[in-house]
């Protein structure tokens, strides 16, 4: 059903969670207004829109407010029916949701590997690599360009951050997670993702990302030294890592 209510996205320029919402809207040709939120200086607006978690992204659609990026993707898919993102078959949908969830675990572990040292770094690096192994298994033998087939879908949007954020983290964190020789299918999918016209025109600039993550890494390393891995999340004004279980 076409909807004429105003659409807004409250996001943070380098958050893959808010980018995936923007990608979804752009893929569907839905016009929206973007509102940047500095997550280190949260505004009253964010507290009002997301009192429970005070996190971005937030999708505003008329009077409605949708939260949590993967939940927002499903809302977008159910509201604007053109360019379907989720597969039709319930089993394929369950698999897409499962792998998206795996991608979230990869995110947390890769980020912790970026921000830690010694044993903790080794441990989280190993967990991150294991997650990529699972993704590689899924992509191996696929003849289509994307997880969603010849067109991009929900799972591509959920995992897409891997193609642009992970290489930056690998550089800043002096580590390798997606080795092209070990993970050829993932590497190819990453290239296809980055070359998609909608994605290409909506990526945070790499040089700015390097500076940002260098700074964040330094802050996190010093916080972890003081408060341990869990205490370090306070710097992002989070009580726990995003989607931490």
């Amino acid at each position: 059903m076409e909807s004429k209510e105003i659409v807004k996205v409250v996001g943070f320029w380098v958050s893959p969670y808010s980018l995936r919402v923007e990608w979804a809207l752009r893929l569907k040709g839905v016009e929206y207004e973007y509102i940047e939120e500095d997550i280190f200086n949260k505004t009253p607006l964010l507290s009002e829109l997301n009192p429970v978690h005070k996190k971005v992204p937030v999708l505003i659609h008329g009077e409605k407010v949708a939260l949590e990026s993967l939940i927002i993707l499903e809302y977008i898919d159910e509201t604007w029916k053109q360019v379907p993102l989720l597969p039709e078959d319930p089993y394929d949908r369950a698999m897409a949701r499962f792998l998206a969830d795996l991608g979230e675990k990869l995110f947390v572990n890769a980020f912790m590997a970026l921000c830690s040292e010694g044993d903790e770094k080794e441990k989280t690096l190993k967990l991150a690599t294991e997650a990529v192994e699972k993704i590689e298994e899924e992509l191996k033998g696929k003849t289509s360009k994307f997880c969603g087939g010849e067109n991009m879908g929900y799972l591509d949007l959920a995992l897409g951050w891997i193609s642009h954020w992970l290489p930056v983290w690998e550089e800043v964190g002096c580590m390798k997670i997606v080795d092209p020789i070990q993970f050829p299918s993932t590497t190819l999918w990453m290239e296809n993702f980055l070359n998609h016209p909608v994605i290409k025109e909506k990526l945070p600039p790499r040089d700015k990302m390097v500076i940002y993550f260098q700074w964040l890494r330094k802050e996190m390393v010093s916080q972890i030294a003081k408060y341990g891995p869990n205490g370090a999340w306070a710097i992002l004004k989070l009580k726990s890592p995003p989607n931490y279980r």
Partner: protein, 222 residues
């Protein structure tokens, strides 16, 4: 459309995540084979069906596994969509239901464990956050009989299994749910009027004894 292909559930009797799936299957009156898993000696079938996480619950339908309790409940709702819908049909209401079910997932298990296993300030902080979580849920419930409105819905199914853990939180945290969260306790009793819930949830004392034993062993290992 009713699907009559074989359904198998790999589960453990005390798992609130497994209970979610059992309640969903009961709501939809789906016949299935239940296989109890010993998590300290996982079966080859479990390891084959969930190689990624090696966890229960796993639903096996038409020979294919579905993992992660809330993903399984959504799968059940989508395949057996003629009876007792768990998610509403409106996209915005669906987003809200998914949000609150995800909120339950993010908070209760990890905070509950901290209330059980930590002491002093750490335990007090966890207890406060757990109670805040329950109070936020009470706010969302409002005046409705169920989170799903007039009938049991996705959030009810996600949350009600943790009713079996209430007494363990009370015991370890030194509080009573009925004093702190009376609306939630009333909601839990309302859910228990449904056969799909009352016949699924194990005996509360049995779960309490099991958890106390688990907690004792965990603390001894530290």
């Amino acid at each position: 459309m009713a699907d009559s292909s074989k359904v198998t559930l790999l589960d453990s009797w005390y798992s609130p995540f497994g209970m979610r799936v059992r309640i969903a299957l009961a709501q939809k009156e789906i016949e299935y084979e239940y296989k109890e898993e010993n998590l300290s000696d996982k079966s080859p079938l479990l390891l084959q069906m969930n190689p990624v996480k090696k966890q229960i619950p796993v639903l096996i339908h038409r020979g294919k596994p579905v993992c992660e309790s809330l993903i399984i409940v959504q799968y059940i709702d989508e395949v057996w969509n003629q009876k007792s819908p768990l998610l509403p049909s409106d996209p915005y209401q669906r987003a809200r239901a998914r949000f609150w079910a995800d909120f339950v997932d993010q908070k209760i298990y990890s905070l509950g464990k901290q209330v059980w296993l930590s002491t002093g300030e750490a335990q007090e902080a966890a207890k406060k956050e757990l109670l805040d979580t329950f109070k936020l849920l009470e706010g969302e419930l409002g005046q409705k009989p169920y989170f799903g409105g007039e009938t049991l819905g996705f959030v009810d199914v996600a949350l009600i299994p943790f009713y079996t853990w209430f007494s363990s939180f009370e015991h370890c945290g030194n509080f009573t749910m009925v004093e702190e969260c009376p609306k939630l306790v009333a909601w839990a009793h309302k859910c228990m009027e449904k056969e799909s819930v009352s016949k699924t949830l194990p005996d509360l004392k049995k779960v309490f004894d099991f958890l106390m034993d688990f907690i004792k062993k965990q603390k001894a290992n530290k």
